[in-house]
């Protein structure tokens, strides 16, 4: 899974060059993936380690940086790439793009263009699970910056008050756009905030998929057993800029250099080698993922655009949109 996410992000990054005017870059118009593209390169272990414990009927909400979560929840990679390309064959028929990637058929209730907004949506899904007496849980991924928005605090309080089956996952890549999150955050972070509401929380090395998985496994088992909400704080690092075209000149190159040494793919490869897996076998996994993604890029390029009239469909049943 981590290899598939890496391959997906790398290909999406490549296809997005010149796709948006921001961070001193100009849009050149012919990019296949246009608009802001938030890559989760380097953060793969968090998505993979958590989602491997989820079932299709568990619910998930994500963030603007949501490709990895969506893939890990079981969404079809090809249809995801088609959505990034804005094609009719994408998950949202080209209406959503990267920031609104979703596959409701596997319980992935959507990425979100608004920081922290996915948190209460997952909370409501968790309450719905309880009301409908379904055997499932809800999981919400959010960034380290998101914990400074009100819905995070409101949702922690609410989840504890109602003892809801929800796992909060703070994917801490240390940055909020161009701001070092620590400089703008008081206290000891997401886990401490959760504990102050009486929610059990743990901090893990988010680049070690084994550690993430082991901690998530225990927490998810507790949540399924009705023990209430849990929070997992996974420390990782954002390898790329805030969006794909952002050269991230505001951060010390040494910081990235150091972080690259604990690239979750390298960490995992080393662990596998230590367990006697042949390096060629490990390379083959990444190669297979790149082949799968290349095929998706190719079909996405050929896929049809949505019809212009789709601008007015799937808005609402009563009083749908139109030119007046």
């Amino acid at each position: 899974m981590m290899c598939r996410i890496r391959a997906f992000e790398d290909a999406a990054e490549e296809a997005s060059r010149g796709g948006v005017a921001a961070f001193g870059q100009q849009a050149v118009g012919q990019a296949q993936v246009r608009g802001p593209l938030h890559l989760s390169t380097g953060q793969e272990a968090v998505a993979a380690g958590v989602c491997r414990h989820l079932r299709p009927n568990d619910y998930l909400t994500s963030t603007h940086r949501g490709h990895g979560h969506t893939l890990a929840k079981g969404a079809d990679l090809e249809r995801m790439m088609h959505e990034l390309f804005g094609k009719a064959t994408g998950f949202c028929g080209g209406r959503g793009g990267s920031m609104h990637i979703a596959d409701f058929s596997v319980g992935m209730l959507g990425a979100n263009g608004v920081v922290a907004a996915g948190i209460p949506i997952a909370l409501g899904a968790a309450q719905s699970i309880k009301i409908r007496r379904v055997d499932a849980i809800a999981v919400t991924f959010f960034g380290d910056g998101a914990i400074n928005r009100g819905p995070f605090a409101e949702s922690l309080n609410w989840a504890a008050a109602f003892n809801l089956p929800i796992l909060f996952v703070c994917e801490d890549n240390q940055w909020s756009a161009t701001t070092k999150t620590g400089t703008m955050s008081a206290g000891q972070g997401a886990a401490a905030r959760a504990r102050s509401f009486g929610i059990e929380a743990e901090v893990v090395d988010g680049n070690d998929v084994g550690a993430v998985s082991e901690t998530a496994r225990g927490m998810i088992a507790d949540i399924r057993a009705g023990k209430g909400p849990r929070l997992l704080h996974a420390r990782t690092y954002r390898f790329k800029g805030h969006v794909s075209v952002d050269p991230a000149i505001y951060r010390d190159p040494k910081e990235l250099e150091a972080a690259l040494k604990s690239d979750p793919l390298l960490v995992t490869a080393a662990q596998l080698r230590a367990h006697g897996v042949a390096p060629t076998e490990i390379d083959a996994v990444l190669q297979a993922a790149r082949t799968e993604v290349a095929r998706a890029v190719e079909t996405a390029g050929q896929a049809p655009w949505p019809a212009a009239s789709d601008a007015f469909s799937q808005i609402q049943d009563t009083g749908a949109g139109q030119w007046l």
Partner: protein
Amino acid sequence: MAVMNYAAAAATSLGDAMRRDSAVVALGEDVGRGGIFGQYRGLQEAFGSERVIDTPISEATIMGAAVGMALTGLKPVIELRVIDFALCAMDEIINQAAKNRYMFGGQSHVPAVIRMPIGIWSASAAQHSQSLESWFTHVPGLVVVAPATPQDNYGLLQAALQCGDPVAYFEHKELWALDGEVDPGQPVPLGKAALRRSGDDLTIISWSKAVHWSLDAAEILARDGIEAEVIDLRTLWPWDREAVFASAAKTGRVLVAHEAIQVAGFGAEIAATLAEQTDARVARLGGPRAPVGYAPVLEAETRVTPSRIAAKARELLAR
């Protein structure tokens, strides 16, 4: 058929819907004790605290959680107390609920009724007295409703729950005690205006509590032999063009009267549409662009009243 007030009509309607459809739930502050206006009276006793859900004072999360509920098979009725506090939940209403279905290409629906009472709530001053319904008419994805009578509060709530779209549902803070006959068997469709009074000389278009002021204004005008037709729009989006255009064709003069501030109020949309597409002469009357003050004299100064509506009607007739 029974006589009940506007609040009881809503509670009865919601109860009937909850009995029929186990997916309907209600959530918000203080709903367990019937809501602060009695608009949820008896419901938690009847349906339990899992379906009539008391929540923390967390408007953004009440609305956000409701979106999550709606996406996973429930039909939430969201209590935001008054429109003024709904402002704490604007992202969740506008970016999350209203856009969901479109953004995700029709994978999702957000059936939800968002209750945000509007209007001046006498002596409650600037943060409890706003009428912001026009903001919501601006947002694709939302249906916008504003009942003026107990019957319509019963019927429109039923229709709103059945329509499958997120509905911005604007009751009025000062209509709760209004009594009227309610026939649960009489459906009130979305998008259909009601003719409240017939007349040939001019049309007054209104909604919510201003309908009652418009009817009083029509009485004032009638003393001078002026016969006003009064149309209660009931649904602001989609609004009933057919009914409005038909009345405009009949009277040739249309005044839109509403409690909300006139500047960029929904009256402007109706008046502009009529000006563009009909020969009718149009006028509008909304509140002044001023916060509502506490002292009686200040509050009164900013109220749209029957006499102000009547005066505006005479102006229109003189043009």
